[in-house]
Symmetry: C2
Subunit: 371 residues, 2 copies
Amino acid sequence: MASNSPLATQQVFIDLGERSYPIIIGAGLLGDPGTYLNLPAASSALIVSNDTVAPLYAQALQQALQGHYNQVLQVILPDGEAHKDWPTLQLIFDALLAKGCDRKTVLFALGGGVVGDMTGFAAACYMRGVPFVQVPTTLLAQVDSSVGGKTAINHPLGKNMVGAFYQPVRVICDLDVLQTLPPRELSAGLAEIIKYGPIADMAFLDWIEANIGALLAREPTALAHAVRRSCEIKAAVVGQDEREAGLRAILNFGHTFGHAIESGLGYGQWLHGEGVGCGMVMASRLSQRLGLIDTAFVDRLRALVQRAGLPVVGPRLSATDNAGRYLELMRVDKKAEAGEIRFVLINGPGNATVRSASDALVREVIDACCE
Amino acid sequence: MASNSPLATQQVFIDLGERSYPIIIGAGLLGDPGTYLNLPAASSALIVSNDTVAPLYAQALQQALQGHYNQVLQVILPDGEAHKDWPTLQLIFDALLAKGCDRKTVLFALGGGVVGDMTGFAAACYMRGVPFVQVPTTLLAQVDSSVGGKTAINHPLGKNMVGAFYQPVRVICDLDVLQTLPPRELSAGLAEIIKYGPIADMAFLDWIEANIGALLAREPTALAHAVRRSCEIKAAVVGQDEREAGLRAILNFGHTFGHAIESGLGYGQWLHGEGVGCGMVMASRLSQRLGLIDTAFVDRLRALVQRAGLPVVGPRLSATDNAGRYLELMRVDKKAEAGEIRFVLINGPGNATVRSASDALVREVIDACCE
């Protein structure tokens, strides 16, 4: 996709020693061969995409890579969180082995969070590790999932339960591709952008509130700033705690409730970002009930989530014991320890903390936040 | 299993910075609670074993761990290389999630190389990584596969194609368990012990030749020395090249031919160590044809492999083009690059190198070494 945008290309650097890499943010990047200079040398590359994104962008990426590799292969996965599973992952290994790809082969993840997570996990495992590049095509993937090296597939009993910490060698955020994003996907991405405000940067939250209209209208300069600032905050957190020994958990604000919603409704009913949006409202309500923030802050966050086009009322996950079902699902969250759920909470504006809460209080919050 | 052996417990240390760990070698270790002191704290442990080993040792390990964890779970896999696949791996994840195991849960691999490789890979992937302990019950696993952090499962198109470099937190080599090992498994372990001589330590090769009878008779002091010296050599190599950027590949001496045999016959027909034994004969013959060693050295190694009870003649893998089939299978070896097979060869006694060879020469060697 050619760009007429006057945007300058920007870089955010993830500093992880020998696993460091740049996030490149700009217009017209995806189809430009220059974007892919100086990657690890290899004879083969494999583009992994899905049947929604591939028709739009796979050919442009294929052509941009053609000069860099002897063979550029493609594997197209079925679209959607419901396919973030082992049989679908196996399609990537099948393609690699059928074409004789060796352990220098570079994988390119062309798609949203699901494609990125699966391609990254395949790269982590194929011959015990090959390089991969993230080419995120959703706003959510550009500001969150493509950055930081979390890769995974789902298990029937829990989301992202099987995976690896495995860093890409480069992330390419082409802002042009956001123009073709369905509105629902745009809103889902805004959820992860909004997230960075309450946990880390209240000035950024102010900016998002002032510019939510421009973001929804996909104004390139607004998108560029939102993507860059989000990546900067994420880079700073990941740089301090790559494997989530502590601090990094704050990036999961809204995710504990959100994962329960996604899993309880069946993957693919709500988008991940929708679960996170609603989950942030629930987690901030819990923070308020614990005395960490005031009601005005909850209302402010709720209003912004709603303006972003996201759900703010939790779905019922059980006709008989809705709160009990939420609790049951949240106990398999990866942050849980010995069956105790660990919530990411807002500990005063711009500050996050991880702690547990009594089941009784969590039940109250769920009852207050659900339909 | 109580031990009457007077053997002192010994340690070999794998030096990998924050991923360092000890290999503990001795008698009576498996059932001793003291063996498992000071592991990472956790509320749950999961013993992974197979239906051959579990009846012999799972209860002793369970009892030894009982005091260290709130719950000690077990999952018993079907035995054999044929089950080193995803559906079997999934049994481990199912058990962990069904029992609410969190990301501090410690996995214990109780078995041979297959159990160790699968448990290690499950530990690498479960919630993106939990600690695991190797409790190898075969000689092969004690001297090779349990040490160094290579984990994997097989793919229908190639052995160990999907896996991770993931280090255990401790390796427990209880020499007592070798007394129950079937003779064929003992010989398979001797293949990996013999391997360390030609690639790294000719004095050790001399010692093995002088003590092969004692090893086959399972004399504890001979086994103790063989295990310790093998682990020392492996530790030195892995400490210099954890992820096999170069040097570590020498540990695959005999494995390129051996993997082709294993895969060509169907996993489980020949034991891994049998493939390696025969593969070392073939690789040393190739070394000789390339002028790197003399015929006397090939004959010497062949005689020792044979005395160890291992096959020294390669099986026919195709009725029409046997050498062609070997070549085809070897091209999917992980060391291959851009379709070129990389052989580990003996470059003078006690010294290994990695290089390619012409198909014509490799065909000659295969024809000379097969039935």
